[in-house]
Structure formats: C-alpha cells, structure tokens
C-alpha cells in the first residue's frame, strides 16, 4: 500500500490533460535525464504553445516563425489547409527552430504524453544536434537567425512600399527558382548574421553618400569589357568563375540589378544557406531526436515517472514514426529518415555493448567499447547523412531491413537487382545508400562558366551530367527564364557529360522576357 503511494507520488502526470505546471514539471524531469544522465548539450529552450491553425501558418513559411511575404507561402498554406481540413493529412506534432534559444512548438491539441514526447524529441534531441553538429556550427548562426529573419521581413516589406509589390514579387519569384543553387557547398567563412545586417546598412550608407547624379553624364567606356580582358582565364579569374552559387554570382555581377534587388537575392541566399545543413542531415537529425526521445521516455517509465498507460501511448506514437513499409507495400514512399536514422543508432548501440564477431570485423574501433552514448555523440557531431551511413550502416541492419539495390538504366528494358543483403552486397549497398543522401550527387551540378562581356553579354552555364541524367526540360526552361530576367541578357545552358565533356543537350540563348528594374 505504502509502496504504491510512494511510486504514485513520483508520477509527473496522470491523465491526458496538460497545463503549464505539468509541462514545466515534466520539462524539468526530462532535462534531468537529458543533461544530468545523458550529458546532452542543447541550446536553452523556449517552449511555445500554439494552435493547429498557427501550426499551419508555420508550416507554410518553411517552418519559420517569421518570414517575408510571398505568394508561394500562401499557396502552400492554402493547400495544406485544404488537405488538413479534409482530413487527408495530419499535422506534425512539433516544429523546432534552430535558434538560440531553441524554439520548440507544441500544439494545444496534444495529450500530455505527446507534449512530453515532443519536448524530449525537439528541445533536447534536435537542439543537441543543432548545437553540436559540425555543419550547423560552420553554416548557421543560431544566435541571430531570428533577428536576421526579422530584418529580412522588414527589408522586403520596405521594398514593397518603395518599389511596388509586383516588382518585389518578380525578384523573389526568380530568386526562389534558383534557391537550391544559392548555397556555397564549402565553407568560406563562418556566417555571422549580425554582421550581415550591419554590412547591408553599411553598403546602403556608402551608396547614398557616394551617389552623385553627375556621374550619369560621364561618357561610358564601352570598350572596357572586351579589350582589357581578351583572355578567358583572366576574365574567369576576375569574376571568380566557375561559380556554382548562382544567386551569389548574380548578386555580385548581374549588370542591371538595383541595389535593393541584390539585397533581396542576398536574403534568399542566406536563408537557403541556413537550410542547407538541414537538408544534408535529415537522417541523422531525425535519428538523433528519435533516439533521444526514446531513451528519455524509457527512462521516465523505468523510474516510475510516467504511467504504463502513458508509456503505451508513447510507444504507439513512436512506432508510427519509425515505421518503414517494405517496397511492395502500398504505403511505401521511399526510405523513412526517422526509421533509418533511429535504426542505425539503435544498431550502433548494440555494436558498442554486445557485438558479434561480424561487428568486430566491420567496426574494429567501436565494437564492444561499452560507450554507446559517447559513440552517438561523436557521430552526431562529426558526420552528415552520407558519411554517417557510409560509416555506420551494419550488415546486420541491412539483413534486418532486407535491403536491396535496383539498377535503373533508362536505356535498358528491364531493371536489374545489382546487390542484395549478402556478403558480396554489403559494401555495395552501403555505398549506394550513402550516395542517395549525397546532395552533391542528388542535385544537378550547375555552374556559371563564362560571360560573353564583349559580345551580347550572354551568360554561359554548364550542367555537368552524372550518369546520363539530364535536366527536366519544362522546368529548366522556366528557371533559365528567371535567370535571364535577373541577369538582364540571354542565358545559355549546356549539359555536358562529366566524364568525357561531350555536349549532351543545349538550351540556347534563353532571352529575358521582361526587364527587371
């Protein structure tokens, strides 16, 4: 009798309803486990309670709490809302923002168990990952991202007042089309968004101070472009070619853009860059958050802080999250990053604690080291999806998942199974799966290679084609039109085989269809 009373006293909550006191108390209990026992190192958190409508709002603007205005966010909102209202999709349980403090949204409709799960998942799992992963450290500035977004929002709306909403919309449309090609893939310098805003102010001040209408009356030096640099190498050197960051190139070199248009390109580019690490670490990030919430919830249950019922409810939600349908299941839609990430981490834990001979052969460094948590933390800090899979996907996991690889050559009549989960296939499978998460392979490699400054100022781009995979034509033409509009002159794109430099396909002289000004 006294025992059950004692254990009841340890319960954080009973029943499904939540209130602030319970949320706070539970957060503290999670924190004791996450930081005290597991030694995680997340950002400080801010838990925000929102309604489902607000979740829809947040969804529609790339999950950001504040953002500049654009019709495409409205479009996404309109569609999400429709799907949600008709019951065709549910909403995510959580959204978490990579910022310091880390913003973690919880929905009012959730039960207390779901709130617990979400806080463990987002405020500790994701947040630890954001704070410690190398890519995020190198590329994102969690301290000032919210300030920067606020600046971006205000800047865009000021531009709308000054230059008209339509003019701004045109620039944003074009910039969005190039957004996935607006990132530097290799770090140049650590991004500091505060400096970024300062620099914008500085640039504008300089421009306003140094503006003199007199300069307009000077005769132009027409010959300047061609004669000085007849030589391709010198020109390429001056323009920093080849350049894979198309937005960056346009921002720096597009001849006809006004200052504010360049600044908008810059904003879109900074945002794209901010999201770039997230796109490269989907499996790891979700894997980390899922493994963390699983460990924390299990621990809460073990220590009698949540009821059996709550734990069952959690397991139900958790199983849905890490469910991986097989390829012939109608629900199959590719590999579920939550399932893959969580699976690898759980398997890694087994390798550390209870290795087989096979594991010792495959993972000599870590097999049986007895420090699963430490191994996880190193992985979370140092890897991204591609290298993570290449390093840690074990034969046992491949067998459990019954993974196989299918070669799809568009020139062949049939598909070929080229590797399965057997001795001869493990390395092949692992390489292939890792390659699927290599953005550099996944996304077309498009670069600015030359500009015909002497002639018609045509911009020359090259798509270096891997494995014969050409661009989708209709979309490509539309993007090139946007590119030409920003550049102000025609644009040409050649698709070139990356190995033998044969030209496979060309988009010739796509003209701008309107002058951006």
């Amino acid at each position: 009798m006294s025992r059950s009373l004692e254990s009841d006293a340890r319960l954080l909550y009973t029943g499904p309803d939540w209130d602030y006191r319970l949320v706070r108390k539970t957060f503290d209990a999670i924190e004791r486990i996450a930081m005290g026992e597991m030694g995680l190192n997340p950002y400080p958190s801010q838990v925000e309670v929102i309604s489902s409508e607000q979740m829809l709002d947040a969804y529609a603007s790339m999950g950001m709490p504040l953002f500049y205005r654009h019709w495409s966010f409205g479009k996404h909102f309109a569609r999400d809302e429709m799907l949600y209202r008709k019951g065709m999709t549910g909403l995510a349980y959580e959204i978490v923002i990579n910022s310091n403090p880390c913003l973690c949204y919880i929905m009012e409709e959730n039960t207390m168990t779901m709130q617990t799960l979400v806080m463990a998942h987002a405020a500790f799992g994701h947040s630890h990952f954001f704070r410690n992963n190398q890519l995020f450290k190198a590329w994102t500035d969690a301290d000032s991202i919210l300030d920067y977004l606020d600046f971006a929002k205000r800047y865009v709306s000021e531009c709308e007042e000054r230059y008209g909403a339509d003019a701004v919309e045109r620039v944003l449309d074009s910039a969005h089309a190039l957004m996935s090609h607006g990132v530097h893939r290799y770090p140049r310098r650590t991004l500091n968004l505060k400096q970024e805003m300062e620099r914008e102010r500085e640039r504008r001040r300089f421009q306003e101070q140094s503006f003199s209408d007199l300069w307009r009356t000077l005769p132009r030096r027409e010959s300047d472009d061609g004669d000085d640099d007849p030589d391709l190498d010198a020109r390429q050197h001056r323009l920093g070619l080849p350049e894979e960051n198309l937005l960056y190139f346009l921002e720096k070199h597009a001849p006809r853009l006004a200052h504010w248009q360049r600044e908008i390109l810059r904003i879109v580019r900074v945002v794209a860059q901010y999201f770039y690490p997230q796109r490269q670490t989907k499996v790891m990030n979700e894997g980390c958050a899922t493994a963390v919430h699983y460990a924390i919830m299990s621990r809460l249950h073990e220590t009698g802080q949540i009821t059996d019922g709550a734990f069952m409810e959690f397991l139900h939600a958790h199983t849905n999250v890490v469910f991986q349908p097989e390829f012939d299941d109608p629900r199959f839609s590719g590999i579920n990053p939550y399932a893959l990430g969580f699976g690898i981490l759980q398997d890694l834990k087994r390798v550390c604690e209870d290795p087989t001979d096979e594991d010792r052969r495959w993972f000599p460094d870590i097999a049986g080291n007895g420090d699963a948590l430490g191994t996880w933390k190193t992985a979370w800090a140092e890897y991204r999806d591609e290298s993570f899979i290449l390093q840690f996907l074990s034969p046992r996991m491949m067998r459990e998942w019954r993974l196989f690889s299918v070669l799809d050559d568009a020139d062949e009549r049939d598909l070929i199974v080229d590797a399965i989960h057997d001795d001869s296939g493990y390395r092949e499978l692992r390489r292939a799966l890792a390659a699927q998460y290599d953005l550099a392979r996944h996304e077309p490699d498009i670069q600015v290679v030359d500009v015909d400054l002497a002639g018609d100022r045509r911009l020359v781009l090259e798509h270096r084609v891997l494995d014969g995979r050409l661009l989708e034509e209709r979309n490509t033409l539309m993007v090139l039109r946007h590119l030409a509009n920003l550049w102000g002159y025609p644009v040409t794109l050649a698709e070139v085989d990356a190995r033998d430099h044969h030209i496979l396909h060309e988009y010739d002289d796509v003209e701008p269809d309107r002058v951006i000004a």
């Binding site: 925000e48 603007s61 479009k75 190039l178 839609s333 077309p444 979309n475």
Partner: protein, 426 residues
Amino acid sequence: MVNIVDRRLNPKDKSLANRQRFIRRAKRQILDAVRDVSAKRKVTEVGQGEEAIRIPSDGLQEPSFRKASGTGVRRHLMPGNKEYRAGDTIPRPEGGGGRGAGGSPDGEGEDEFQFTVSRDEFLDLFFENLELPALARTQLSKIEQQGLQRAGYSVSGSPATLNLTRTMRNSLSRRLALHRPKRDEILDLDREIDRLERSGKEPERLRELIREREALTRRSRLIPYIDPIDLRYNRFVPTPRPISQAVMFCLMDVSGSMTEDMKDLAKRFFMLLYLFLERRYRHVDIVFIRHTHIAQEVDEETFFYSRETGGTLVSPALDEMKRVVRERYPPGEWNIYAAQASDGDNTPSDNPIAFRTMEEIILPLCRYFAYIEVGEERGWEAKTTLWEVYERLVAAGHPIAMRKVKQRADIFPVFRDLFTPAELRA
C-alpha cells in the same frame, strides 16, 4: 528554467497576407473556376458558403533545376527483399521509375491545385471593377445608419436597462438553491415565540425557538434577497441599419417561342445580376415575373422550370412590375433594378403600349434597366420588334442598356460590359 510561452492568442492569420498575394496571383485561374462553379447553381444559391475551387497550376508553378525522371542511370535502394538475388531482372513497372508513390513535398508534376476560397474572396474577384450604373444619381449606396439592437443579456449595464424578470428569476432560483428561510417561516416562529413568552410555559422550547429564529435571521442576512450576481441587464449592440436596399425585377418571356436554352441563358444573366446587387447592397430582394400574353409574379422554381405557352405581350409584364413596386417597394426607399430577357418577339399592336409604359412609368422608377435578348446563332441578323422599341428608348437617353446573348460564353462578357464604369472601359 525553461520558458513556456502561450502563443495561442497571437494573431492567427499570419498567412493571410500571403494568402491574399496568392489569390491575386491566381486570379485568372480562380475566375475561370468560379465561373464554372456558378454555372451549376440556382440563382439564390450561388455564392453561399465556401467554394472548393480546383484550378490548373499554370503560372503558379515554382520551377527549379531538377533531374528528369526518365533519363540516365539511377539506383534505388529499397527494403523488404523477399526473393530477389543479385543479377535478377525485374520488368520495368508501368509509368517508368522503379519507385512507389514518391511524390515530392514540393508537388513536382502537379497538374491541378485545389483549395477553398471564402465567399468574400469569390465575390470580390468576380465583381472586381464592376459598378452599378447611375450611382451618382443617388446617394443611397453603402450609406448605413447605426441602430441599436437587442442582443441577449449582460451582467453589467445601466440601471435603466435592468431586466427585472431575469433578475428576479435568478434571485429566486438562488434563494431556493441556498435554502434562504422564507418570510412566512420566520413569522410563524415569531408568533410561536410570542405565544410561549406570554404563556410562560415550556422555557426549554422557548430557548430553542429563539436560537432557531436567530439562526434563520442570520441565514437570511447571509443570503440576501437580491444579490449582485442575480442582476441581468438588457444588452444592446450597435448594428448597421441599412438604408440602402435594392430590389431586382427579373422579367422573363416564357412564351412558346422561348426555348429551354434561351431560358437558361436568361437565368444565368439574372444570377449574375443578383449576386452583384447582393454584393453592393446590404439587402437585396428579387422578384420574378414571367409573362406570356399575361404576366404574373412567381417564385423562383416556377419562374425557371414551369412550362407555359401562349402569345407574347410585353406590357402586361411591365404592368405587373408596376403593381409590385406600388405595393411593396416605394422608390424612395429602394433602388430598383430590372433585367428583362426575351427573344424579342412581341405582338406588333403591343409595341406602342410597351414603349409608353417604359418611358412614362418603368424607367423613371428604375436605376437601371438591362435588356438582354437571347437568341440562337442563326447566321443572319434581323432586328426584333422589341429591340427596335428599346433602341428608341436608349436613343432618348434613358437608363437602359441592351445586349444580345447567344451562348453561355457571352454572358459574362456582356454582364461585365453592362456594368463596367465608362472610365474603366478599354
């Protein structure tokens, strides 16, 4: 210490501005879709509630550089192998690609886009730039008076608005619920005490009665007869009281010469006009008058769906309209509009009468009179008798407009044409 913030009270429609941008962007597509929807509705049902709109996605696509699906060499990693061995071949599934339903979240390859527009968004787009003619002549449109309207009860208010019935009802139920001693109980007790005191007998019982009386008195002091929580006041809210109201007369020729197709054209025109007036006025009435050689006010159902045959006379319809106006719609308070649809046939002897009725009675009543002549594509044009009559009215500068409509596609352009203000005409 974690910071927990309640954001639920933050403004909800953070996406509203983006949504408006999107709607503006998709205007043309939405207009087409809206027109399709409205073609299938009853006159008085159109524009009620929200419309689920399915629009093609041209112009709403967000392109990006993507690799085409049907080229080159790809590998697909999949879980759940059952019988395949390395080297097996699999016939290519229909529709290319070895994957299942791998729809990208970005909606790659989406052809159509479905969403819901609210009624207001719908009507705003529909009637953008359209205006009622002859508004300058009246100062009535959109002017509103504030009036007060009863709206239930409130717990606070001025003494003048105290609602006695409610207050007393609350007071009574509270007293019953809390067992406030009744006045009669205390009086009975008093009488008993009085009797005992005088008689001097049963001192024990007397003390008990006095204690009981004290308890009851205390109780009735604690539970007052009327408590502030009983009070109820009549609540009034200011409501715009429209003084701008409009009535539309739909005059339709249903004589034998009008085919179902012609009636359908007429119906769609009336529908637009009705929607439009409803948008511009707080209160719109609609009167259906059909006529052959006799005319009669009918309900919508009869107006559109009953079959009637007979000869054609226009003037009885005008007389009927005059009657309805006289009985129900004093022109000083109502903006009167009329739309007449006919195939243009009229008995020749009626033409002079119709002309006179129009000029002397109907047109002076009306803000605007729209005549549409429905007909079939014949390849040759001859002016109908009614057309000639009305042309003379137009020439005389009366507020009447006339157009011909031959197929459904003509209706919206004609409608826009009739109601686009002169300064916006291209």
